[in-house]
Amino acid sequence: MLKIENIDAYYGFIHALKDFSINIEEGKIVTLLGANGAGKTSTLKVISGLLNPVKGSVTFNGENLLIYPPEKIVSMGIIQSPEGRQIFPQFTVEENLKAGAYTRKDKENIAKTLDKVYDYFPRLKERKKQYAGTLSGGEQQMLAIGRALMAKPKLLLLDEPSLGLAPLIVRDIFRIIEEINKEGTTILLVEQNAYQALSIADYGYILETGKVVSEGSAKELLGNSDIKKAYLGGN
């Protein structure tokens, strides 16, 4: 569905992605793992059109994504829950969610998706009139994920969705990810919580300083002792 081939991307002088390739098959959950600064977020930025690689190609169902601005890419069905939440602080919770559905035309179904998001995160429903900027860290994280879900995307990009969430909610999050994946959404998941990510993913890539150093099915990776040591710890 999405193919990144041999891209190089820079921030000024910083070479963030080096001859980088990944492939995401339709209907799968693919996860990107790696230490801080490995290039996970940069990969998502490239897909969303926020970072332009200097070489290589990015295609979505065969179509070249590099020529499109971010907003066009969203309307093609790729949405991201970005790093650092980036909620709209002066919107209420509900307005944030509505902004997530901006590109959708099917008005009636938006209400349905909204109900579903409130189902997933009852806290958001309780606070739907609260200004998002005053939410707690974890509440904002829920909102960022919920907002991405509102777009009903074909491909959902999640950047560290469990960040700042309480253990109970983390468990819910992974359950929700699996659930929407079953309903047909393809997912690219960036996580620090490698163990949990691999337990729900189909396929995984391990990144180090802008390069893919290892890849394989989630099962393989979980079984790999090197990876276990480096990313999964004692779990």
């Binding site: 969303s48 602080p89 002066q90 919107f91 900027g133 777009a151």
Partner: protein
């Protein structure tokens, strides 16, 4: 008593004009955080176009006005496209400087094209004034007040009840994230400049009978419209309108009952005091960054 109400009436009329000018300012500010210092200059230019269509080409008043509004549409689009968008990398103060540059360019072009003379431009409605218990009421003034309220309501509806409104407000808060939600932020910028320029043109055309059509016609209105916007609060559309009306009325009452020569000091002093008490304007909401 009639004198008092006469002052209120006149204050409402001028205040409405401040408000109209302020609405354009606020719209641009709310989408892109830019203070457009050239708003007054752009309004002046559009007014000259209206006047030239009316006086030079002999079009009827409504046609001339419509022509000027169409011009304003293109004008706003072009300014945003040529001057503002290429500088989208620049910081906000830099964008403010761009609008300062625009003042020079537009002001300079206006006097090169239209000359430096002043011209009389008729009122929108030239019916005879009505005497209401000693207070002279001009139909034209009522028209101005009404138009301001209608535009305010329209903008309020657009921004709070429509999808476009969501797009505008989201863009204002975080352009990058707005794009990540699929909001075409550049269209939003373009649109807000267009609407703001049209609003400025309306304010200018309605202002013209009082200040005459000249390159400096909007100087005072423009300054007052800033104050109106800040006094009422940049965060809403009714705020600037009420801010404009307050300034219009206050100016007159202070001038009438306190001092004509010190009125500017007093009115601006009140503005500053109001802001200290209510830092985001009378109707502004405070959005503090959470720690």
């Amino acid at each position: 008593m009639a004198i008092f109400f006469q002052n209120i009436m006149a204050g409402l009329e001028t205040g409405s004009l401040y408000a109209l000018a302020a609405l354009g300012l606020v719209l641009i500010f709310r989408t892109s955080d830019v203070i457009n210092f050239a708003q007054g200059e752009m309004a002046m230019f559009s007014t000259f176009v209206a006047f030239t269509l009316f006086d030079g080409l002999g079009l009827s008043y409504p046609l001339a006005v419509i022509g000027a509004l169409i011009f304003a549409l293109l004008f706003g689009f072009i300014v945003e496209r040529i001057f503002i968008r290429p500088a989208s990398d620049a910081s906000l103060v830099s964008k403010m400087i761009i609008t300062l540059g625009l003042i020079m360019i537009i002001g300079g072009l206006a006097s090169a094209i239209f000359g430096i003379d002043s011209y009389y431009f008729r009122q929108a409605i030239s019916a005879d004034s009505i005497d209401a218990a000693g207070v002279v009421v001009q139909p034209n003034a009522l028209f101005i007040i009404a138009i301001t309220l209608v535009i305010m309501a329209g903008l309020f509806y657009m921004i709070n009840k429509t999808k476009v409104g969501i797009a505008i407000r989201a863009t204002a808060q975080n352009e990058k994230t707005a794009r990540l939600m699929g909001i075409p932020v550049f269209k939003v910028y373009s649109m807000s400049w267009i609407i703001a320029t049209i609003l400025g043109a309306i304010a200018g055309i309605l202002m013209a009978p009082t200040t005459n059509v000249s390159t400096t016609m909007m100087a005072e209105v423009h300054l007052k419209s800033f104050i109106a916007a800040v006094l009422g609060g940049f965060g809403s559309f009714h705020g600037p309108v009420i801010g404009g009306l307050i300034i219009g009325i206050l100016d007159n009452l202070v001038g009438m009952y306190i001092s004509l020569t010190w009125k500017t000091v007093i009115v601006y002093g009140l503005l500053i005091v109001t802001l200290i008490v209510k830092p985001t304007g009378i109707f502004g909401k405070t959005h503090r960054k959470k720690v």
